[in-house]
Symmetry: C3
Subunit: 206 residues, 3 copies
């Protein structure tokens, strides 16, 4: 919205693109047609930000006002459709794109919430919801239990990503640097936790 938020928009567009790749790649793997691929790419790419904007009252939602969001979402769907084998060389492309999108949306969701005057804790929560919302929409549409419940360190990685800019702002750190650190921290925490099989504690009663 404001001028220094051009970094915010750039990160938000990148998050839209990589979540779109995660949705499109999952759709190709499930054998969906071109329309299904674009639909799942759009759901993964846009649902988190739309949820954020409806809850904030930042309407019409950013992805409806700024058409670069639609370009990013559908462009990602087309890339997944035509270049699936290339993406698949990454071995776990859905997970990797999802992890990057998770970090990007955690940071942008949280920063947009702060711009709207929300308190730190609510800003972190909205960052987490923005980050996990797209993936949850994607997974529910193909009738999977969403990653946020199935996988150990997922919401936690988003939480770390969203908390870094909030806490950093309290201590007066430089915002762009904090944003980038938040994205990288969430991404690394998520990817490493998948590779090492880390898990969060369970209830002693479960």
């Amino acid at each position: 919205m404001t001028d220094p938020s051009s970094l915010l928009i750039a990160l938000d567009l990148l998050g839209t693109f990589v979540f779109g790749l995660s949705g499109g790649t999952l759709a190709v793997r499930r054998g969906l047609d071109i329309v299904g691929v674009l639909t799942l790419a759009a759901a993964a790419a846009l649902a988190g930000g739309m949820l954020r904007d409806s809850l904030l009252g930042a309407t019409p939602a950013a992805s409806l006002v700024d058409e670069r969001y639609l370009l990013a979402a559908f462009g990602a769907g087309l890339v997944a459709f035509f270049f699936h084998p290339l993406l698949n060389r990454l071995r776990k492309p859905v997970m990797l794109f999802d992890a990057l999108g998770l970090g990007l949306f955690a940071v942008t969701g949280c920063r947009k919430a702060m711009e709207f005057g929300l308190d730190p804790v609510a800003s972190i929560l909205l960052g987490v919801m923005t980050a996990v919302g797209g993936g949850a929409a994607r997974d529910l549409l193909v009738a999977e239990v969403p990653r946020v419940l199935r996988e150990e360190i997922y919401a936690l990685a988003a939480l770390v990503g969203a908390a870094i800019p909030v806490i950093g702002r309290q201590v007066g750190g430089p915002e762009p640097v904090l944003a980038v650190i938040g994205v990288v921290a969430a991404f690394i925490l998520r990817v490493v936790s998948v590779q090492r099989g880390w898990s969060a504690p369970r209830s002693p009663w479960s």
Copy 2:
């Protein structure tokens, strides 16, 4: 909202009614009780428009302000509950009502987005989301993968329906005629594609 939009409201109410029939008929077929029938009718009938209005910031949502929407939704549920065999003579009633609702909501969603000043591409997207949203809510509630992903020409039919009024407005066509053409085109494309088993292209890699 404005005066010439009375056609828009009439089409929107009709869409609400036929989506309500699709939800109610599906609920009766699943053996749900009267409350379940009314719930599924309301979900199918109202979710698409509520999604549209939250994302536009057109709040309180139209279906909460204008009680004819509730009448249409719950009236459709009651019709499905009491006259199920009559509806069933249509052989594929859920599909037919769903196809008509798809066309109606694609057009009304898109036109409402244009009234709120959205760009053409964003207006088409919102039309598609309005059209597929109610059916997706209905299918998810009974734990089915939504039609928009399972069926070949579904989002595509909504896209064609939404694009006709947008493109027509650019070339200056008469709005009511364009609206009706959009509805009919989406309905026919959807129904014929089901009957002929048309499918959209799949990724060569899927």
Copy 3:
């Protein structure tokens, strides 16, 4: 919002807490880790109110502005995580907490809708949506058909709870008393219907 609505907020916070217990208890039973327990608690506790506020345009949503909502939601998640056996002595804790939350949110959703100037029927509908929304989000996330469709007297209990303050206001009854009666009526109707196996009528054609 207004001053006499402090009772409304108290009931809303209590509803948030008990729905949080229902989500957290379900998560522990499914063997989810601490993050999954907090996520499911938050989804059950906050989704209904967030849906209500997006549809009303009461944004930013109450649970993002007033941090007591987050405390109630996550506090409930922690209680479920650490004291699961204690809650389990209630035999059917998810059902009981869910029934109480159902009554509380039916009343508060409906009263908030009336404050925003909605008509009686629309206010009742929004009360029901607020009440069933959190439980539906909770159940969908763990891939269950939501209670509102599976169980006989569920939406109906919410409807009774929401209708009491609306009808009472028409006849000029004292609002706090009507609110409490609505909550208690919905809770009792729901719990007794589960215990006695009451069911609503099915379509003769199902």
